[in-house]
Symmetry: C2
Subunit: 668 residues, 2 copies
């Protein structure tokens, strides 16, 4: 244990106390980057996915590209407005789970919980895949190794998070601000050059014609509508991460709600302008994007078919805007995009264990996940998240276009239920509120949340219909599995809780007597210690029990026992099977049967050792007996540890290995 | 545990008590097959290895084939005579280990122990490989899959042995007697046809010329001597297993020693006649055997080189003796050879755990291996043996010729030390013996053992010199590793024994007071039970300790505690890290520091569950605290188990699953 602990400290870093967590209250200038990286990063892949989906309708689809961008932006706006209400109503951190739990009951909140858990996994998979895709713009050697690179990135993120979250504030601020600035500059300069300087900027894919998979150039009617619906659904990936701030209100500096709401507002404005800006600029520079997986392809001006896809929208725009006069600009845009996408994945590494902790508090997940104290619980969450995300990336070949089909479903389930919960919240609050001004504000909030719920519900339906067969079913199945598992765990805990509840009928009588039994194998210090402890415990009766294996040895032990004069009788019991466990267990069991009202206290001398291999050489019998006595009602098992020198040395070594000048809590 | 136990019973079968073992006393007619299969089976591959080694000297080597057979037979005779002395001197079962231990001291006995452990592994590998090689005679489709077949056989043997050894007597008798009968018939009929009927029997390889690896037809001098020495060494594989009877004297019917000695005599006569008979017959029918691995090859009468080896000597002889008039004879010989070889491997599966048990008794191996009671200890030995044998077969490609180079070394180390031990034994006995007739017998025995020791020592030197670079070094290195490991374990046990010894200076004072602490997480039945037990234990003081994680929950627990009116004070301690373990450990540790003469008794309520997955949901905190308290001197850890319904159901299921009408010992 000690070596393991020391190693863990080195890799995972020192623990944070609640007080230290208090230090991390965030000013707005840090809160924005910390909470917004997830939401903002999605503008790096949402435009790509819109264009790729539209390419399924060939050039016709592209006629509607920026309108779809605007539609998504409208949804972003409404959702941001809705969450500002949540932030005000739940200053203690009202994630959708909490809101649903408080207003809609267990089932809804558990649906939200399942949806969010699945979506955290997808956030990691999608963000990292998108980051790797963008990295290809400046590091072409990544091509062909996307899966490997993505896995390495996830492993690094997991290790970083296993070491702790102290980095937060400043660590997020720099790259996020660089990202925002460079993106705004890119969009601004691009639009300025085209609209004001009237320069004919054309992207590298402008002269390519996009051919739909079936080859028809002019799809009409339902086909076109279906494609546009899917493009919109994919574009809605831009909304992921918006809810982060409503979870994180307690981390804001006071006035918490006000600050959180204003950061949310800023986030909304930035996200909308970037999204619309990018879509418009892509439209003006005629970016055409396909994904070879969908079956769409390019035709070049000479009429040749090109089946490999071009680089990301961000990459193309950076090249066209900066490429001809300021090449470093291309690098800054792309690198900051990659970094912010990895940061977005990183937020999931914080969010997932937090949510798991809350779910564990409500008995939906194993209890030990609740404790935030030691990072053990968090570690489990981080490792689980990393492994599932890696599996997804492996299966879907790190393809953002494939992964995005699974995404968004969970987010919108959570959005919709959260907003419905808020409607209920306001309605309830109105029944007790009498102040007219407050009532008016509440009415307004309720209207906003109703619009939010309606719109997000509508989007959810669109997403489900347009993506169900393309992958959304898998996300739904995963959520259902999570839901059932968590229901099962909760039910188990509740059944156990009920089983062990103290009620009026519970037997409160004290056991009349305690009969002590010391397991004797040798007469030595550990045994003497166990006997001393047993005697000090002043049981009603006390007896040493020796299982006779070899005649000679038994005789020797009996002799030693009498020499020592413990003042305790030694009983020798026969062992027909030449083994210790069964006869001893039978002895204890008979003692119980004879005196059912009494308790039997079994004292087992145990060695505490310093090395793992010593464990193989000692305590095997004690372990076996302990395990089997566990099944016997009315039996207390008392391990009387005897510390061997090696264990003391190991403890001292572990203590010396921990950092000097730091208080080592406990023996660990 | 219950499910595991039930499963284990199904696979491993019921246990044998010491009394049941008593039933298995063997009459001579059963003792011979039980103990002789190992020794006799080696006549199935010793001739092959002699001829293959001689092929390294081309046709010249074959001139000496039957003389080498005779030399080996002489060694067999001397060794059998020597062991008859051992059997008389140690009627309680004098394996070489016991003899060396009693007469030569720890080091020698440990060398014997290491040698035998390594040789048991080789017995399995060599016998199974040889069995598979013989199977090729009648099942040609085995060719090319030898390794796979050999591994399957070992796995089956291991499973059979995990199920138990009840089969012994009758199970061994039938195939062993068939083997002896068919081999004697084959040799007898063959010699009769050639010598009496004067039929010109010639084996299928008679018209082939053997070419030595270097192509020279006439090696002379040292080369020839070296080849013959190696051939003799390989032939000495025929001696393996002879010592089995001296280990097994207690299993004989009385008069044990006399019966064992006469069975040993029979074994010697049978082994010698078969070995010499086969070598002579092979010589007369001009069997030529090569192994493609050595580089030797055949030249057929037309002058073409043939590089693939022929079938085994037994196979060739069976075909030439029976093939032209009674084909079933071929099958009987070959099948019984295969079976007896697998039986020989099986004896190692009994011998290895027995030896491990004796070594564990002497503290050279982990103590728990000593207990013969439950088969747990034996299982470990069986699995270890199977895995190492499989590894050897894998590495050496199931080649008997390669494996035999590692073999024999251990056997002769054990022989030599055993015989030296016997010389010492007689010399000692003579110092106290006054009866002249007895003295004369002892003198004679000492002379026989001296000859035995001299001869086996000489063979050991020949084996070491002729085989060292061919593989014997690996066997020696393995033995050295085993020796060092066992010395280390023994030293560890001795150091611990000394450390925990009770002497005059040992502190025998009883702890002045016992301060009880109950770990409280909830107020429920398990907690109430723990409190009741703690109160019944009448400690000097008793306090409940609650670690405050969440304010609300803490308040509720405190309220419930007071409602219940346990008559015990509840202490609430703060948890800056929002975790239970560290603050609790610190509390206990401070209690210890304040009252160093007192003992702290920590009562931990624990759930006993029925399913493995429930373990994940419960007791994690208890486990962590228990593990960490173990390192604290003066602290008793008292698990107060609370049986959940699921555990009771699981216990009942396990009980129902065990065979009806059989007494189920204990809860297991």
């Amino acid at each position: 244990m000690n070596i393991y602990s020391a190693l863990k400290r080195v890799i995972v870093g020192r623990r944070l106390s609640n007080e230290q967590m208090g230090e991390t209250l965030l000013p707005k200038r840090l809160a924005l980057p910390v909470f917004a990286s997830d939401a903002l990063s999605s503008v790096a892949y949402a435009p790509d996915e819109i264009l790729i989906t539209l390419s399924l309708a060939g050039m016709t689809g592209y006629m509607f590209s920026w309108q779809i961008g605007v539609a998504v932006a409208v949804v972003v706006g409404v959702v941001v407005l809705s969450y500002r209400q949540t932030v005000h109503a739940y200053p203690t951190g009202g994630g959708d789970y909490e809101v649903a739990s408080a207003n809609l009951g267990n089932r809804s909140s558990l649906i939200v919980g399942s949806a969010l858990l699945v979506d955290y996994v997808l956030t990691v998979a999608v963000s990292v895949s998108a980051g790797v895709l963008n990295a290809r713009v400046i590091v072409p050697s990544v091509v062909g190794h996307e899966v490997a690179v993505a896995i390495v990135v996830i492993v690094l993120l997991a290790l970083m998070n296993l070491r702790g979250v102290r980095e937060s504030g400043a660590f997020f601020a720099f790259p996020t601000y660089i990202f925002m600035a460079s993106m705004f500059l890119m969009v601004g300069i691009g639009l300025f050059r085209i609209l004001v300087l009237d320069q004919p900027l054309a992207s590298e894919t402008a002269n390519l014609t996009v051919m739909a998979p079936d080859g028809s150039l002019e799809p009409v009617g339902w086909v076109l509508i279906a494609v546009m619906a899917r493009a919109f659904s994919s574009g809605c990936a831009a909304l992921t991460g918006v809810e982060a701030i409503s979870n994180g209100v307690p981390s804001f500096r006071p006035p918490k709600s006000r600050n959180a709401a204003s950061v949310l507002g800023m986030l909304g404005v930035i996200a909308i302008s970037l999204l619309v800006g990018i879509m418009v600029l892509a439209h003006l520079t005629q970016v055409r994007l396909i994904d070879e997986l969908t079956g769409a392809h390019y035709i070049d001006p000479d009429g040749n078919a090109i089946h490999s896809s071009a680089v990301t929208v961000t990459g193309q725009l950076a090249r066209v805007v900066f490429g001809d006069w300021f090449v470093p600009g291309v690098f800054i845009v792309v690198i900051s995009t990659v970094v912010i996408l990895f940061l977005a994945a990183n937020t999931a590494f914080n969010g997932f264990p937090s949510l798991a902790s809350i779910l564990a508090r409500d008995a939906y997940l194993p209890r030990q996940l609740h404790s935030r104290g030691d990072r053990l619980a968090y570690s489990n969450g981080i490792v689980t998240l990393a492994i599932t995300a890696i599996a997804l990336i492996w299966v879907f070949d790190a393809s953002v276009t494939s992964l995005i089909q699974l995404y968004v479903v969970g987010v919108f389930i959570s959005f919709t239920l959260g907003q419905i919960g808020m409607i209920r919240h306001w309605s309830r609050a109105l029944t007790t509120q009498t102040d007219r001004r407050v009532r008016r504000r509440m009415h307004r909030s309720r209207i906003i949340n109703t619009i939010g719920a309606g719109l997000t519900g509508l989007v959810l339906v669109v997403v489900l219909i347009s993506k169900f067969t393309h992958g959304a079913w898998l996300a739904l199945v995963s959520m259902a599995v999570m839901y059932l598992m968590m229901t099962f765990i909760r039910r188990h805990y509740e059944a156990v809780k009920e089983e062990v509840e103290l009620d009026e009928d519970s037997d409160r009588a004290l056991p009349s007597r305690v009969r002590g039994v010391v397991l004797v194998q040798h007469v030595n210090l550990p045994t003497a210690k166990a006997v001393a402890f047993a005697r000090a415990s002043r049981n009603t009766s006390l007896v040493g029990v020796l299982v006779a294996l070899e005649e000679e040895e038994t005789a020797q032990v009996v002799k030693d026992w009498n020499t020592e004069d413990f003042g305790v009788q030694l009983k020798v019991i026969a062992s027909p099977y030449r083994e210790i466990t069964t006869p001893f267990i039978r002895f204890v069991s008979e003692m119980r049967t004879e005196n059912p009202r009494d308790v039997v206290a079994v004292y087992i001398p145990e060695f505490v050792v310093g090395h793992w291999w010593e464990q193989v050489l000692h305590n095997q019998t004690a372990l076996l007996i302990r395990t089997r006595l566990h099944f016997m009602p009315g039996v207390m098992v008392i391990s009387v540890p005897y510390q061997l020198r090696s264990s003391k040395l190991a403890r001292e070594r572990a203590r010396a290995a921990s950092r000097p000048g730091r208080r080592t809590p406990g023996a660990r």
